[in-house]
């Protein structure tokens, strides 16, 4: 039967949904019983250490560390590929580890280069 296994995973969604359903009322109740004074517009300014906010709040980036995110996208794939191999390790012949080692070697090369590049903070 197609779609049998999905039933197991539905409890995770159920848990997710339950937590949302249980926590949203907390916000709603809080909104209901808490005081709401709209008199002072300064209260709703973003935090700027007591100064009047200047400039845009959403413009700043640590570009120096951007390569790490790029690396993450690629090496995340690698890590989960390793899981596909690792979970089946007990069933495959020993020789079959070699391609994975080759894969890892290639990825190590890439990682070494990437770490070298990302270590040079000045070029980012």
């Amino acid at each position: 039967m197609v779609g049998e296994l999905a039933g197991n995973y539905s409890t995770v969604v159920l848990m997710f949904g339950f937590a949302m359903a249980a926590m949203a009322p907390a916000l709603v109740i809080s909104r209901m019983i808490s005081p709401r004074k709209r008199s002072n517009p300064v209260k709703f300014l973003p935090m700027e250490c007591g100064q009047v906010p200047s400039g845009e709040g959403r413009t700043h980036f640590m570009m120096q560390y951007y390569p790490y995110i790029l690396m993450f996208v690629v090496f995340d794939v690698m890590a989960i590929f390793l899981y596909a191999w690792g979970s089946a390790l007990l069933e495959i012949p020993k020789m079959a580890t070699l391609p994975m080692m080759g894969f890892l070697a290639i990825m190590f090369g890439a990682m070494a280069f990437a770490l070298y590049q990302s270590g040079r903070r000045r070029i980012w």
Partner: protein
């Protein structure tokens, strides 16, 4: 009645259509990347669906490879966007004409 292969293919066709529409209409580089992602996902869905209904483990393996390649593509594509954005301060694809060789 359980879901059948044709249902999945129809969903994937719909996604493909939406993706192609996005590619054709949008001029925003990032939106076009979204459209590409949608198309890739439509393809993945098809691969896995056929792999399931014509029982073969290769379907899932291919899907894994496909997702991995998509990740690589996104990494490169977003780097391109950053470079282009840094050069033109815009994300409009029409502004990137001078990137042509």
């Amino acid at each position: 009645m359980t879901s059948e292969l044709v249902d999945f293919t129809l969903v994937s066709v719909a996604l493909l259509g939406i993706g192609i529409y996005g590619l054709a209409v949008k001029r925003n580089f990032i939106r076009m990347l979204f459209a590409v992602e949608i198309i890739i996902n439509a393809a993945n869905l098809n691969i896995v669906a056929f792999g399931r209904f014509l029982p073969h483990s290769g379907g899932q393996t291919m899907a894994l490879f496909s997702i991995a390649i998509a990740a690589a593509e996104v990494a490169v594509g977003l780097s391109l966007i950053i470079v282009a954005y840094r050069m033109y301060q815009n994300v409009d694809i029409a502004d990137f004409r001078s990137l042509k060789g």
